[in-house]
């Protein structure tokens, strides 16, 4: 689809806006509707739009597959780490008050970190689901597996 000028121009215009809106939803999530889940999906949607226009290989040059797997784990670990940090500093699991001196700042910092972990994991997992579907055919052909998919019949 790289040859279609309208698609390319519109996508190049839209992708930064989608990403910016994703970041807005991410960091405004503590006061208004939003948060890690929605922001992660928005961010992944921007990447999927990029892949639809430029192809999966270009998309994987932006974020290699290994990095996506890695990010999916890092997000969960960040969530658990912030949760356990509260336990180590003398509170309960996911208790943010012991993190910093000011309770208000501690609550905000904790929720932002936790939501950031959620956002990273959700974005990475949505990208992974899309990637596995998109490259399945190519991987099977490379491995020499052919299917009765009705195209040759």
């Amino acid at each position: 689809m790289r040859d279609n000028a309208i698609l390319v121009v519109i996508a190049r215009f839209l992708i930064p806006l989608v990403m910016l809106f994703g970041l807005y939803v991410q960091f405004h999530g503590e006061y208004s509707p939003g948060g890690g889940f929605q922001a992660g999906v928005l961010f992944a949607a921007a990447w999927i739009l990029f892949v639809l226009i430029y192809g999966l290989e270009t998309g994987l040059r932006v974020i290699p597959a290994g990095v996506i797997y890695w990010l999916a784990c890092v997000g969960v670990l960040l969530y658990c780490f912030v949760g356990l940090l509260g336990v180590i500093l003398g509170g309960r699991f996911l208790d943010f008050y012991p993190l910093l001196d000011s309770p208000h700042t501690a609550q905000q910092a904790g929720i932002i970190l936790v939501e950031f972990g959620v956002g990273v994991t959700v974005a990475a997992v949505v990208m992974l689901i899309f990637m596995q579907f998109a490259r399945r055919r190519a991987l099977c052909e490379k491995a020499g597996i052919t299917f009765d998919d009705g195209t040759d019949a």
């Binding site: 006061y31 208004s32 509707p33 889940f37 999906v41 949505v126 689901i129 579907f133 399945r136 099977c140 299917f147 009765d148 998919d149 009705g150 019949a153």
Partner: protein, 119 residues
């Protein structure tokens, strides 16, 4: 309380019936999954509407706000949305495998395939 004040619920009924129609009438598995998604959305709207308290604000503790909307349906639906994404992914993966094994994801074509195998 007139008929328009229940607009959310009319939208729920409409979306639910559209989704149901897609699931039972279309033979194409991908279209069935799309129908399932529309059906799910109607259930989400039903729950969120039920949790809204008129004049209530977002359930965040702050000064000058007395009435809050019920946050429980929101949490339930957030979980349901995530589960919906997962079930859609599993359904699509199954459709891919069916396509690879039988060369079609259409119910009628698969029926013909099965009867040919029996014969």
């Amino acid at each position: 309380m007139n008929i328009l004040s229940l607009f959310n619920y009319w939208a729920v009924i409409g979306l639910m019936m559209i989704g149901y129609y897609c699931v039972i009438v279309r033979g194409n598995m991908v279209k069935k999954i799309i129908g399932l998604g529309i059906f799910q959305t109607s259930v989400f709207i039903l729950f969120i509407s039920a949790g809204k308290v008129l004049g209530g604000s977002t359930p965040i503790l702050r000064d000058g706000v007395e009435i809050y909307s019920n946050p429980l349906p929101h949490v339930l639906i957030l979980t349901a949305i995530v589960v919906g994404v997962a079930t859609t992914a599993v359904g699509l993966a199954l459709a891919v495998r069916v396509q690879e094994a039988f060369g079609s994801i259409d119910d009628d074509a698969l029926d013909r395939h099965a009867t040919e195998d029996e014969a």
